[in-house]
Symmetry: C3
Subunit: 136 residues, 3 copies
């Protein structure tokens, strides 16, 4: 069984956003056992699994990643699209543009404290497209 759907996220502000519920609501009845793949179809955004409870984890992600991969680094030559653009590309490959989640007993099988983060690395990224693929 293969199920696939392309969905559009509303424009999020720059930062890390919990979208676990949004994703679950887009899915049909899941197979007994399988795997969900989510791809972000953009090169300046990302997706990852992390802590779903304390919002300061997400704001710490934003602040720390801005320090680890800063704007205005003198090595950047790709600067025409704004100071936030090249760091966004780097973060997209360091955090990743896709995740896989196992499906168990017809549900996404994440740990108690795990949620899905959509990572908007641009100042004004606009709506973003995801592809959801279920194999089972």
């Amino acid at each position: 069984m293969v199920f696939q759907k392309e969905v559009t996220l509303p424009a999020f502000r720059r930062g890390y956003h919990l979208i676990t519920r949004f994703i679950s609501e887009q899915l049909p009845e899941l197979p007994e056992t399988g795997l969900l793949n989510i791809l972000v179809k953009h090169t300046s955004a990302g997706i990852t699994i992390n802590e779903n409870a304390d919002p300061t984890v997400r704001s710490d992600f934003e602040r720390f990643m801005n320090k680890m991969i800063p704007e205005g680094d003198p090595v950047y030559e790709h600067t025409d699209e704004g100071d936030d653009d090249m760091p966004a590309h780097l973060k997209s490959s360091v955090i990743g543009a896709s995740i896989n989640i196992p499906i168990t007993r017809h549900r996404l099988n994440l740990g108690t404290w795990q949620g899905i983060y959509f990572c908007e690395f641009r100042n004004y990224g606009g709506p973003r497209k995801l592809v959801l693929t279920v194999l089972g």
Copy 2:
């Protein structure tokens, strides 16, 4: 064919640990061709594929990652669970909480020097749960 199993790793000390053999021993007879997904069900641990021979690669990982993503950074607000907690969340998303490995002729198809690292980012993480999913 879909096979799935949840397994528990014993408590590992903080650092990078080769678990290739442990994983292989948990698996049933694998399909002729397919894919294995492994998810770590925690937000302060990770899993990756890297060099399986020289143990100093793994201790260099521990030391370098502690420098790249340090404890006590002044940007952190999420500090209630200890100095090792927020860096552990960051490392989990930078290294990743899941991997995929192709299955070929009924075996995991890794390169000669590739092994599976379980990455314990907390000082005292305790036993950790993994989900193994085989599609084939």
Copy 3:
């Protein structure tokens, strides 16, 4: 349906290289819907999805990643294989050694600006092996 093929990339110079067309040419007719996994069978190279248009994005990747994960860091003990070796292992786990791409209407379903980067982290990595696995 499962299809699998092992392919060899020619020796690339150190850096980030677009291989989207190379990968597409290796694949048979793809299923209507599915998922492609690509694994790099090496611990000092990587694979990621990023911007496919401006070559300065790829040279900025090379320069910035060399700064974030430098050669000659005093924490490294694994130095016998050359100054470029331990940073290559670290980059391989930070960028990742495998990617997944959804298949839609018999084609790889990437965003308009997304391409597949092969990341050669060694000075002289030589030919590199990839495993392509299609599930659908």
